[in-house]
Symmetry: C2
Subunit: 426 residues, 2 copies
């Protein structure tokens, strides 16, 4: 059944068959959105307890007696008990943590803006007006790329392997003094689901960079977001410390995919060198983030164990969806010799590699059938997938039934596109 | 009793008397903080209803059916019903409103950062690296000045009159193309309590500026914060529209002094030209602010009338404190021919003008007695009060009894400093 080995005649029969199936789905007028990584209502319901987590006026105070209804500037970096909880759950030193508002993306944006306007410790002043390049493991997160691009930073694509970014290439590229950083999602990566291997983390930590102010934006968005099983990620601060490069790390995370995506708590973490740089600017920018929402999260969870139990409930809901994608692809793509979607154990996405030149056309056909995927190319810098082969699938929002239909549509479309391509080139 | 007209002998007697009173307060070991404008617990209690404003899962949805627990990017500029409420209460067009996080100061900071990095419509590109000046009516808000200063913008002091900034000077200064803006609190100004007169608003709106990208940062922080009576402020958008200068206005406000200072809702408002400029950058910066907190505020207030009633309760609490300041100053300063504190009808502060050269020493003596005021000079650009005469008093946080003691201390200290000054120069 492998399409590549099929005769022209067989392929033409296959095309007729697939076109019939396409017409069948056309008549169904589907309208399914799998473009963004959004939890389903069932997942949101898991956190409804946030709404009454603060029941008593005394719940408005942190343990040290701070009234969190007011500016609470004395706990600028966050409610101490919540910093402690995050430190334990995310495995970062408590004193490194600076809690922010509802969006880690916003914190990343502000960090890059700060680099542009004020420069970075160890560097030669503001980045504004200079040629600045950032390494972008891809497929990666389109919103990361968009932030860097908006500041005029040049994006350098580095291929993702099953272990993380291609480190031979990274080590080569950082010899260029214009390369000032790397941005990544190191665990259950968006969209590949890859967890950086210990070797990758060590090489990122160890490598010498031409730029003295080189920084890694370590967006650990899916730190505790396993679906099938947890895959440990090395402690980036500890490893970098070994090589004397701890100031290289700017760590970000949030509860966006733990509690409410729009109303969670984001934080960043960094060593003393970076905190000394960031804090004065941050304290000019704001009197402080919303600490009532910090208390709300604290009272809702209380303990690391409660947070892990919560994530187990998420995983159960996610697993039903991940199973559908795995099964449908295994039945609808593998037999025809197409499709590589890795083996994600957690995170929020599937990253599907089709034969070269097939991604955009597949995206378009799916769209025609009412199945909206993340636009092809979005997972690459400047929206340009060099091989036009990658599609990101965000399977969490639809129901299991809808997802099943959508994935079947995707398989039909991908096969049709590939069959057409083979017929044209044979 | 007027000190200026007193004989040396009389002044020396007065000094002995004041020194005794000073020693009396010294023995009391007071510890009172009047440094920042912070509501008292009684005021915070007025908004405790926020904590259970969302009772039912269906309360998590906006009227148009958007689930606000998730990113809700379709209502990026805010929950429509809350934008409508703010439009009515603050008197700005609904479509101008972009709701943000918990801090209007943060929105102002980000706005100035945007000006530096990307430039402003009508201008010549990014402000970064250029000589940029901002007009700063003073006494003014220290955190405003600090933001501008942190970006290397030159602060140009413009004296505040009882009507607003000295407009003759403003109209003269804006002939300098390096002057790109003005920052102000137009109503119940921080700290003078002045409300910009209709003439001032019209002259700000009408004046021709050399800079084509001139902007007014209109921080209407105390729009509905009367204490004794409301004093109307002209509609800045409407007036600017008359003169074809509507794109001059960047309007900011928040509920920080309405609900919880640390956990309120901030917004900005601007015409279509500015929205077209700001929105793409904003949508790169964040997927959106916390909309659950928007719903919480919406459900807590529901109607403009409820919001006005809420402000009346604030006013009652504030009035007791404002009365104490007025009375103590009238008894403790006026008879001696010192002290001008205007006649604030609302807002959060008193701005006390002492004889030239007396502010810093008075601040220091108060500090010695455990009464902590905003540092002298803070109300001026670069923290430098040219006449060393102004002190900002934030009377809201202490109890009425504490405030009474603190204001008596202030009067004693101010008189002692002035008596010493007269004795030295006589």
């Amino acid at each position: 059944m492998n399409y590549e080995k099929m005769t022209r005649e067989k392929l033409e029969q296959e095309r007729v068959l697939l076109s019939e199936q396409f017409a069948h789905y056309q008549s169904q007028k589907l309208n399914l959105n799998m473009a963004r990584g959004v939890p389903c209502p069932e997942q949101l319901d898991l956190s409804l307890g946030l709404n009454d987590a603060i029941q008593d006026p005394k719940d408005c105070f942190s343990e040290n007696g701070t009234d969190c209804r007011t500016y609470a500037a004395n706990i600028f970096t966050g409610v101490p008990e919540l910093r402690q909880l995050f430190a334990e759950v995310f495995g970062v030193p408590e004193e490194y943590i600076i809690i922010g508002g509802n969006s880690s993306l916003n914190m990343i944006y502000d960090m890059v803006a700060r680099m542009m306007l004020f420069g970075v410790p160890g560097g030669d002043g503001p980045w504004f007006g200079k040629k600045i390049k950032f390494l972008c493991p891809a497929p990666g997160y389109d919103r990361h790329f968009k932030i860097l691009e908006s500041f005029g930073i040049e994006l350098v694509t580095v291929p993702m392997t099953k272990e993380g970014p291609d480190m031979d290439m990274v080590e080569d590229l950082v010899r260029d003094p214009a390369v000032r950083g790397l941005i990544c999602v190191p665990k259950f990566s968006n969209p590949t689901g890859v967890v950086f291997s210990s070797e990758v983390v060590h090489r990122l930590a160890k490598m010498e960079t031409a730029a003295a102010d080189f920084r890694i934006i370590w967006d650990n968005a899916y730190a505790i977001h396993y679906v099938y099983q947890d895959v440990p990620l090395d402690d980036i601060f500890a490893v970098c410390r070994t090589y004397g490069h701890e100031d290289r790390v700017l760590y970000f995370a949030s509860t966006s995919k733990i509690t409410f995506p729009g109303a969670g708590i984001a934080f960043m973490a960094m060593d003393a060198v970076n905190r000394k740089w960031v804090m004065p600017a941050l304290q000019t920018q704001t009197i402080g983030p919303d600490k009532m929402n910090q208390l709300r999260h604290l009272h809702f969870f209380r303990t690391p164990e409660a947070m892990y139990a919560h994530m187990a409930r998420h995983a159960e809901i996610m697993r039903a969806r991940f199973d559908v994608v795995n099964e449908t692809f295994r039945e609808g793509l593998t037999p025809y010799g197409i499709g590589d979607w890795g083996d994600p154990k957690g995170g929020y996405f599937f990253s599907l590699d089709l034969p070269d030149g097939c991604a955009q056309k597949t995206y378009e056909l799916c769209h025609e059938l009412g199945v909206n995927l993340t636009p092809s190319g979005a997972t690459y810098p400047y929206g340009k997938d060099p091989r036009d082969c990658n599609l990101r699938i965000a399977p969490t929002y639809p129901t299991v039934q809808e997802l099943k239909a959508a994935m079947e549509v995707l398989c039909i479309c991908a096969r049709l596109v590939y069959v057409n391509q083979l017929l044209e080139t044979k």
